[in-house]
């Protein structure tokens, strides 16, 4: 199967046309065709009632085509949801990816200004989302976190850190990415 990226859109906040625009930018970075597909996720299965959050690892394993029911398969699948994600030891995550694996998931939940009590900015949400999608996809290609301040592969644990970085990898990460992509 030829290499490609599928964005499985389960978000009600992001319109398909907006996601198509983001997909185009992602395609430019990874040099691969990117497809946006509407998807339904088994959210109740990932819900943890004690935390009121969704286990991203469970969500990831249940992505269509990832060890579950066949869906719109492709070598890299990235799910997009609006719910608050966590992994068991951490209070929250913006997203999770299988390092050098098939899939990743990103949530819009903590990317919106309203979550922090700030005025709504849909445009800012889209910018943050694009960075996070590129970031998590990077992990699926085998990319590690980068220390360069503005690199998209820099680890972000606060939304402000997402705002500080650019939506592109630094020169070092670009070189590593090209090397990794050549193996795919």
């Amino acid at each position: 199967m030829s290499a490609s990226i599928n964005i499985l859109n389960g978000s009600s906040l992001v319109r398909p046309s907006e996601l198509e625009r983001i997909a185009e930018n992602i395609g430019g970075i990874y040099g691969l065709p990117v497809r946006c597909v509407h998807a339904e996720f088994d959210l109740p299965k990932a819900f943890d009632s004690s935390r009121g959050q969704y286990n991203s690892t469970l969500l990831l394993s249940g992505l269509p085509g990832i060890g579950g029911t066949p869906g719109p398969v492709g070598p890299k699948q990235i799910g997009l949801v609006d719910v608050d994600l966590f992994i068991p030891v951490l209070t929250f995550v913006f997203g999770e990816a299988q390092l050098d694996g098939e899939a990743a998931v990103v949530s819009t939940h903590r990317l919106s200004n309203q979550y922090y009590g700030l005025p709504r900015s849909h445009e800012l949400l889209l910018v943050r989302l694009e960075k996070e999608l590129i970031h998590e996809l990077g992990h699926t290609f085998g990319m590690y976190h980068c220390r360069q301040f503005e690199c998209v592969m820099r680890s972000s644990t606060y939304v402000e850190e997402i705002d500080m970085k650019k939506a592109i990898p630094c020169s070092g990460c670009t070189a590593r990415l090209l090397e990794l992509l050549s193996r795919h």
């Binding site: 690892t57 030891v89 951490l90 590690y144 680890s155 606060y158």
Partner: protein
């Protein structure tokens, strides 16, 4: 990200191990996992881990007990406890047992990343600190001094005796005998060795500058004092203050210095705030301080404060048996620095070195060897490569005193350097002010 850093995750919950592994793997760390204490101990026996994330509550041996066992195997690993059940008692117990930190699940991702980074930084610093301390101890070994002669052995004994105390030491000896090296050896073998030794060359600085150099100054204390500046006394806090050429300090600064020595307090020039300092004083001089005291140019009370324990460094001509070993040492040192394949001194050249009286002492010997190494073409140093004056003056002039020798040597260096004072002072390894004093003392006429 540094991929060489490694983390061992010890937790009985598979989900926790998986989540943490994933999280840190994305940061480029090398990850190991263990589901219980036995498994962790096995992994620890196989290799070293930089950080160990340790669950407190585990079936069988718990995290607390495991941490004690870990310390028996690896004292350097940074242990961070992770628990779902936070209690102050457990936290205190964990930290008392030597853990780096203690966190409760779920962890803020930012906190966890920073915690691990800080643990790694502290581990690296602590390793570096141990290495530096070892290096300092090696660096200051008295054994490194060259000299088997009875007079030098006596000097080494004195260094060994006085170093561990906090006594003020006065080192006396001619120029070039290695007074500063001795000061450093005393400092390096004292309890202050991990603090700085700060040298003040009292002969090199004019009156006002020396005061500001010693005491520092406040902003605006004088024209040009645009910023506050710490003085050498402050910089030497905890360590040693080495006052070289102490006999050249002007009378006003002598008084200020005496006050600091007595009270261990001073204020910066232009300031009122009293600053407390704790340092040991080692001073050196080649002047006759007793004469300076009787002439009134050196305060008697300061003289007694400084002259508590005296080490007299003999001139090289009084320990000629040490010359071959010292000369050989300089040959090796220069050969390394210049990358030259010269390894020895011919017997003729060595005879010449031994018979010369060395008014400039070890420093002059070093210069002579350095010169010979520069011009030398074979694997050993020959007489013709040594400075000409050695051959001319291998015997002291009839009835020549030490002062006469010094006079002659200074004249010669000045002539060789066309009366360039800076260059001549460099060759003689004295400061310009001392050279001017000596020119005046011996009445050496400047050629017109």
């Amino acid at each position: 990200m540094n991929t060489t850093n490694s983390i061992l995750i010890v937790d009985d919950e598979n989900l926790v191990r998986d989540s943490l592994s994933k999280w840190f793997r994305e940061d480029g760390y090398e990850i190991g996992v263990a589901e219980n204490a036995a498994c962790a101990l096995k992994q620890l026996q196989q290799r070293r881990w930089d950080v160990i994330l340790l669950d407190i509550k585990m079936p069988g041996m718990d995290g607390m007990e495991l941490q004690l066992r870990i310390r028996e195997i690896d004292t350097d690993a940074a242990v961070i406890f992770i628990t779902a059940h936070a209690s102050v008692d457990t936290a205190v117990q964990a930290l008392k047992s030597g853990a780096f930190d203690y966190i409760t699940k779920p962890v803020d991702p930012d906190h966890l990343s920073h915690l691990v980074q800080n643990a790694l930084k502290q581990k690296a610093l602590s390793g570096e600190n141990i290495k530096l301390r070892e290096h300092i101890t090696e660096f200051f070994k008295v054994d490194d001094f060259i000299g088997e002669s009875p007079v030098m052995k006596k000097v080494f004994d004195l260094i060994g005796t006085v170093a561990p105390t906090d006594t003020t030491v006065m080192i006396r000896g001619e120029s070039g005998t290695g007074k500063e090296l001795i000061a450093r050896a005393i400092h390096g073998n004292s309890r202050r060795k991990y603090f700085p030794i700060v040298t003040v060359n009292c002969g090199a600085l004019p009156e006002g500058i020396l005061e500001s150099e010693l005491f520092g100054h406040e902003r605006g204390a004088f024209t040009g004092a645009q910023y506050q500046r710490k003085g050498k006394l402050e910089l030497a806090d905890g360590g040693t203050l080495f006052l070289d050429e102490v006999g050249n300090i002007d009378v006003k600064t002598q008084m200020d210095l005496l006050r600091v020595i007595e009270t261990k307090q001073f204020s910066r020039v232009g300031g009122n705030q009293l600053i407390n300092v704790d340092f040991r004083i080692i001073c050196a001089t080649n002047k006759n301080l007793e004469k300076a005291v009787s002439e009134g140019s050196f305060r008697e009370d300061l003289y007694y404060r400084l002259n508590v324990f005296t080490i007299l460094v003999p001139p090289l001509r009084e320990r000629k048996s040490d010359i071959p070993a010292i000369a050989d040492y300089f040959v090796r040192k220069c050969a390394r620095a210049m990358g030259k394949e010269i390894h020895s001194i011919s017997p003729d050249a060595m005879d010449l070195l031994i018979s010369y009286d060395w008014p400039g002492n070890v420093r002059e010997l070093e210069n002579a060897i350095e010169r010979a190494m520069v011009v030398g073409k074979t694997s050993s140093i020959h007489p013709e490569e040594l400075p000409i004056h050695l051959k001319d003056r291998t015997r002291s002039p009839a009835g020549g005193s030490l002062a006469a020798l010094e006079n002659e040597y200074i004249r010669q260096v000045l002539e060789e350097n066309k009366w360039n004072i800076s260059r001549s002072a460099d060759v003689l390894r004295i400061d310009r002010a001392t050279l001017y004093n000596k020119i005046e003392k011996y009445g050496i006429p400047r050629p017109t």
